[in-house]
């Protein structure tokens, strides 16, 4: 898992401590804590995991083991406009693979990567349950249905100045 070096500010550490406290510093709640923390910071760099481990009094190796186990957790920041291509079965048989490769080609990044300007990142997800609209692409919170490779450029253009 690739990662970047970050420096935490005191207020960031306080935020993490507060999150852990809201789950009673209970190690059973590690995954909920990580969810909340990722929500607050956008990703889970090593430094944040160190704080979480300390607050919940568990080994940081364990925290890292959990972070790398679940695909939802990321150690690199996502783009400002995270693009998620659904590769669930319904989307796959309706051509999600072609849509995905079009995004990769257009943005010149691979799945799990972020464009150098930090604008876009691509990830795959398995079924958001909108199979009726397959293939489905999400950009941030917005869902695009029945996406064809031809639509990819237009979708990207919508976010170009963001």
């Amino acid at each position: 898992m690739s990662r970047i070096k970050v420096e935490l500010k005191k207020k960031d550490v306080d935020t993490i401590k507060e999150i852990c406290r809201s789950f009673n510093n209970n190690p059973d709640e590690l995954i909920n804590v990580l969810h909340t923390t990722q929500h607050a910071f956008g990703y889970l760099p090593a430094e944040i995991q160190e704080v979480v481990a300390r607050e919940l009094r568990i080994a940081v190796a364990k925290v890292y083991g959990v972070v790398t186990f679940y695909s939802f957790f990321s150690m690199v920041p996502k783009g400002r406009n995270p693009i998620s291509v659904c590769t669930g079965t319904a989307c796959y048989v309706r051509g999600a693979e072609n849509v995905l490769s079009e995004f990769r080609k257009e943005l010149n990044i691979d799945v799990g990567e972020t464009t150098p300007d930090g604008r876009f990142s691509i990830s795959c997800l398995r079924c958001i349950g909108a199979c009726g609209l397959a293939p489905v692409v999400m950009v941030g919170e917005k869902t695009y249905g029945r996406v064809s490779p031809e639509m990819v450029r237009d979708i990207i253009r919508e976010y170009e100045d963001q």
């Binding site: 935490l8 090593a46 430094e47 080994a59 940081v60 190796a61 364990k62 925290v63 890292y64």
Partner: protein, 591 residues
């Protein structure tokens, strides 16, 4: 106990309810091959993740094959351990494991002593299909001062993870990633050196492949021994002599002190010394420190903290430096015997034989991997030159003896050289859990009470229980002693101290099961405590056979103080024989 009867390969077996098929088969004399499974019997750790699936067997009426290591038997169960279906499955699984494993057995440090290799031989895998299109999981090799992690060779048996987390509670290792790329690693795949690893070596001791091995210094040693400008001297730790024989087929518990000394001499060491000597020295310093703290405490000095903790185990030192930084002031400041030996060897002894410090190479033979790290610590260097140049493990020594074609069995028993080879029984028992504190009491009692010890053997301090405690009567003063071996047990004691739950005066802690006799550098005991017990008996046998059994009566120790050090805790002693500890805990740094 409720018993159940089952048949295994048409043999009827009766076993207690809850027994696994593997153990039931064993009872019936049927050996089922296992790979990830590890039974550390007396340590109360039975590692059976059911991960490798080599041990699968056929159970009638069951849809799929059952992992025998983790499937419980039931009444009337019918098990077949070697059907064609089973053999095909085992062979296929073995082939799968090998398809994701380097095939550099010829130069692998584990070759010849590798569970995976043995299993491959047993399974008769002769071909790995489609290897040309098979992706192989690869990881960066991690070189630390003591342990090398080559995770390309990891088969995910997870034994190391169990030792590191459940037994030692160090928490340096965890399974990471998922699926094909899953592997055991420190957090963020950082180097072990940067992690909380204590180098106890228990992971290395249980690793079935070449994934975790010790840093091998035998090549360096051969080069040094062949360099005429260098004077190479050696010290051997107490626990080595009680286990080295196992590597040559001798039964566990065979003492090979004399043969070992002879072998070392034949290997070309100029002087063959004994760490037991510096163990006696340790007692002088640590004992004095204990008495000093104790006396001040009894006088009401509030700045003194008790209990005093032993500090001769380097893994234990690493442990409290990383995980209990708030308690750095309670362990004894006395250096470990290995380091005391080095400090004296490169000053007192170097002067005696008129060899310059940097021409003198001090090598230690240790049952331990953390010792490899300990001698690299900056505190133990003078102008960059280490007091102990490097440490090799019992296993490496055995290998070297074999390599040099020395017939170990026919070697005569030889003595250690003087002066740093003379020791007392107190020095010997450092090798077993409880031994350091017993040695300390033998000396402290006499110094404190000015009376002769009514008895020398303190059975109440010996044994294999993870945490033990005893009260020793110091002529009216009841001295509360705590003993722990295994860092998991040490953690419990430390947490009790932190919360003020116990009131020990002195505590001995050893990181490995059984103390140094179960060290990470010893011939593999596979968790079999009977082997550890045999080694322990050997240690106490050697103690009992010694004419002098109290450290302060060692004539060469007395001479060392007279000629060189002055008295325990003198200025010179402080400089050469004591150390300080550093806070190695991860600090949360923010801006």
């Amino acid at each position: 106990m409720e018993m159940v009867t089952l048949t295994i390969d048409d043999k009827a077996v009766e076993v207690p309810k809850g027994t696994t098929i593997y153990k039931a088969a064993k009872k019936a004399g049927i050996e089922i091959p296992v790979l990830c499974y590890m039974d550390l019997g007396d340590l109360n750790i039975e590692h059976k993740p059911g991960g490798c699936r080599i041990c699968v067997v056929e159970v009638e009426g069951r849809r799929n094959l059952a992992p025998s290591c983790s499937t419980e038997v039931y009444e009337g169960m019918q098990v077949h351990t070697h059907t064609i279906r089973v053999l095909n499955a085992r062979q296929t699984i073995m082939e799968l494991l090998l398809s994701d494993h380097p095939k550099d057995c010829l130069i692998c440090p584990k070759s010849g002593n590798c569970d995976l290799q043995n299993m491959a031989i047993k399974m008769g895998v002769r071909e790995i299909h489609n290897q040309d299109i098979a992706e192989v999981s690869t990881y960066r090799t991690d070189f630390s001062p003591a342990i090398i992690r080559d995770m390309n060779k990891c088969i995910m048996c997870r034994r190391c993870e169990t030792m590191c987390n459940e037994f030692q509670t160090v928490g340096a290792l965890s399974a990471i990633n998922r699926g094909f790329m899953s592997v055991v690693a420190p957090a963020f795949e950082m180097d072990l050196e940067d992690s909380v690893c204590t180098y106890c070596g228990q992971c290395v001791a249980v690793c079935p492949t070449g994934a975790l091995t010790e840093v091998d210094h035998t090549h360096r040693l051969i080069r040094d021994l062949s360099n005429p400008s260098k004077t190479v001297i050696v010290q051997t730790a107490p626990a080595v002599r009680a286990a080295l024989g196992e590597a040559f087929g001798l039964p566990p518990g065979t003492l090979v002190t004399g043969k070992m000394a002879a072998a070392l001499r034949r290997l070309g060491f100029k002087y063959v010394f004994d760490t037991d000597f510096s163990a006696d020295l340790t007692i002088m310093e640590e004992g004095a420190e204990l008495l000093d703290r104790l006396t001040r405490h009894l006088k009401g000095d509030k700045t003194v903290r008790l209990p005093i903790l032993t500090s001769c185990c380097p893994s234990w030192v690493n442990f409290f430096e990383a995980q209990f930084p708030d308690m750095l002031d309670i362990p004894s400041t006395a250096r470990s015997p290995q380091q005391m030996f080095g400090a004296i060897a490169k000053t007192y002894f170097a002067d005696k034989i008129k060899v310059k410090r940097d021409h003198l190479v001090v090598v230690s033979i240790m049952p331990c991997l953390a010792k490899k790290y300990e001698c690299t610590r900056d505190e133990f260097k003078v102008d960059g030159n280490p007091d102990v140049d490097y440490s090799i493990s019992t296993r490496e020594l055995a290998h070297l003896i074999k390599q040099a074609n020395i017939d170990f069995h026919t070697l005569p028993d030889e003595e250690f050289d003087l002066p740093l080879g003379e020791s007392t029984g107190a020095g010997v028992i450092f090798g077993a859990t409880g031994g350091v504190i017993e040695a300390a009491i033998r000396t402290a009692y006499e110094l404190y009470t000015n009376k002769k010890l009514p008895r020398i053997d303190f059975q109440e301090l010996r044994g294999m229980d993870g945490i033990r405690e005893a009260v020793i009567d110091f002529d009216g003063l009841p001295l509360n002693i705590g003993i722990a071996h295994g860092l998991g047990n040490a953690r419990k004691l430390l947490e009790d101290i932190r919360s003020g739950k116990n009131s020990y005066h002195a505590i001995e802690i050893m990181a490995c099961p059984g103390g140094c006799i179960g060290g990470g550098g010893q011939p593999l005991h596979h968790g079999n405590f009977s082997i550890l017990k045999k080694r322990m008996e050997a240690i106490y046998r050697e103690d009992a056979a010694k004419s002098i059994r109290k450290s302060h009566e060692n004539p060469y120790i007395i001479k060392l103080y007279e000629e060189f050090l002055g008295k325990p805790m003198s200025e010179k002693s402080h400089k050469l024989l004591h150390t300080h500890y550093v806070d190695k805990s991860k600090k949360i740094i923010y801006i």
